[in-house]
Symmetry: C2
Subunit: 382 residues, 2 copies
């Protein structure tokens, strides 16, 4: 062990720093168990991974699950989850959970996602439910029942207290990618004020939860530096990298290569919303500890199965009579029990079980892939 950062029931242990890069192996201790890093965080927006149940996800070795406060606020309502005794009890997951602030979803409604926006070159304004954005927060209309909902740094943190995840995220603004530097600076300043308010709200009742900041600043090095300086000066337990991460992989890697050295080595970090196979290794080399993404589970539901020899497109014609497992070397439940031909058949027959089996496989792959990266780092090969 190189470092041990202890705060409440939350400890970050730096186990090994690679000699070849900023890649590092660590261990995050939370009230609901350990997260080995680097690691992949599967997204269970509504308190469940799509097409999989939480016991199975845990048994497979999924150490950290990402749930979305925005969705859970609207359905079933954080009051319900609180009454149940918190998210761990409500969804029956006795393992670490992270929730976000809801900001990302609300601003995606207002501005569209970065992807939508890149397509429309900043021209398109979506017909969103967002009614008002002010210093206080964001007023929007629930897509479920039409109720007006005010999301502020304080209400977001209160919602996350009701949920009771092990790691929580302060409320931030997700500025559009197409934003001029002056507007970006105004947005960044407000995000910093909001994150500070979130942290203050959190520290009134830490409740065994850890809070990570969200470093913003788009792809502007000065703004990112300002964000690192501002947020690392506050007593956050870790730091997430969010905001616009660029319009391609290279922009993101460039941004991370100047951001990562500015983050404190003794605290864990997280890259928000990234988990595609192309990004993982370069980001790990830049020192990222955890990644959340719905990419592997979404790919699964589209019949794209990950293997160490590339992607298997389950609907490919020749797999109609391919009675091998998707990956003969894979030990997952799906590969142990079923063939490509059968899984293709389930997809073609619109059987939900096909989604479940594909999801199990891709999630298992991600868990094994991250184990592999950790081993490589421990051996100074990455």
């Amino acid at each position: 062990m190189l470092y041990l950062y202890i705060m409440n029931n939350f400890t970050y242990e730096l186990i090994h720093q690679s000699k070849k890069s900023r890649a590092r192996v660590g261990r995050i201790h939370t009230p609901h168990g350990i997260i080995d890093t680097p690691n992949f965080v599967a997204v269970g927006t509504n308190g469940v991974l799509k097409a999989l149940d939480n016991q199975m996800a845990k048994e497979m070795g999924l150490q950290l699950m990402f749930c979305n406060t925005y969705h859970l606020m609207l359905q079933p309502g954080t009051d319900v989850v609180k009454k149940a005794g918190g998210l761990h009890k409500f969804i029956n997951r006795n393992a670490p959970i992270i929730t976000d602030s809801g900001g990302f979803q609300v601003f995606s409604l207002a501005y569209g996602t970065v992807k939508d926006e890149l397509k429309s070159k900043g021209q398109k304004k979506s017909d969103s439910g967002v009614l008002k954005i002010s210093e206080e927060g964001v007023l929007f209309r629930s897509y479920r029942n039409g109720d007006k909902v005010l999301l502020t740094p304080e209400s977001s943190v209160k919602a996350q207290k009701d949920l009771g995840a092990d790691i929580i995220i302060p409320f931030d603004e997700l500025p559009p990618y197409h934003i001029d530097p002056h507007q970006l600076k105004l947005s960044l300043d407000r995000t910093h004020r909001w994150e500070k308010r979130s942290l203050e709200e959190h520290l009134q009742n830490p409740n065994q939860q850890a809070m990570y900041s969200v470093i913003h600043g788009g792809i502007d090095p000065e703004m990112r530096r300002l964000s690192c300086n501002t947020l690392t000066a506050l007593p956050f337990d870790g730091h997430a990298i969010g905001g616009s991460l660029g319009k391609n992989h290279q922009q993101m890697f460039d941004m991370l290569s100047y951001v990562m050295p500015q983050l404190p080595q003794e605290k864990p970090n997280h890259l928000l919303g990234i988990g595609d196979l192309t990004s993982l290794e370069p980001c790990i080399k830049l020192g990222i500890d955890t990644f959340d993404s719905s990419h592997p589970t979404r790919c699964a539901r589209h019949g794209l199965l990950f293997t160490f020899n590339g992607m298997v497109k389950i609907l490919k014609g020749s797999h109609r009579t391919n009675f091998n497992a998707p990956d003969n070397n894979c030990t997952c439940y799906t590969c142990t029990n079923y063939s490509m031909a059968y899984i293709q058949h389930l997809f073609k027959a619109n059987e939900l079980t096909g989604y479940t089996l594909a999801t199990i496989h891709n999630l298992h792959f991600m868990i094994k892939l991250m184990e592999h990266y950790r081993t490589m780092i421990l051996e100074d090969k990455l």
Copy 2:
């Protein structure tokens, strides 16, 4: 043991005949394992129960699974299943399977289901893919790729040989419920000729499979008697009761009360397509051994959970904060792990996992219910 009917690898063992009714406990030995009777047969149309995988269904104790030849002929094609080494291997179910002949689906296309037809009082002709019905068989167009497919007694049995289920069914005609006695007699005679042709085709290569006849005759006692006489005279391994079973429960019970005494006690029987909770006990008392129905799994996907204290409607408003299991006395995976509030949330959030959990519960209930009936019979209480 009272009787032992042995044929090939298929044996029916009559274990106990109730002193209070025709209800009986038996055991069917097949090449892929035992079926305790009376028992419920879950429907896995495409070689899978909806929202559940075959390993889990088997581990839960589902002894017999019903697959539909019509669907499997069109997707993935029985040639694919044959190449895989048969249905058990293709779907990885090392336990008994029954397939039907495809006749029911083809004639449902032509005439609509009995339910559709009762609604339209025999007036409505559906715009089906059926091109020609003749003495040879039925020519129809595949809904998947537009190919013309000829289904005959011989081709149905050949398809079922490719699938290789433990129990197979001869090709029959499903006459419309609104049919005059003369037409019913013509249909019945043709069904008998088709079943005989199916049996002859089957006996050329029994291949460790058992074939049950399908007793027809609608709700006409004379026609049913004729069907029993004709079909029990042939060397079928068991008898299924099919055709129009009446327009309400009472008509079905009346029909079964004169049909059942006409079936040989030493062979197993099956009631096709019935498995609702109202029907089970009266039918068991009339001597039915096995029931197939998609009712419990379909109810599950509509959020209707079966318990020994009645039906739980998971979407009911008050379950929003009901943190009890659907059935506190139930030992199923779902009740052991999750609350009504959580399952309701999954349904409201359109999460597929909700269907899976509800299906597990209802299937477990059916398995326990049938165990209960067997115990009652063994104690002469039914």
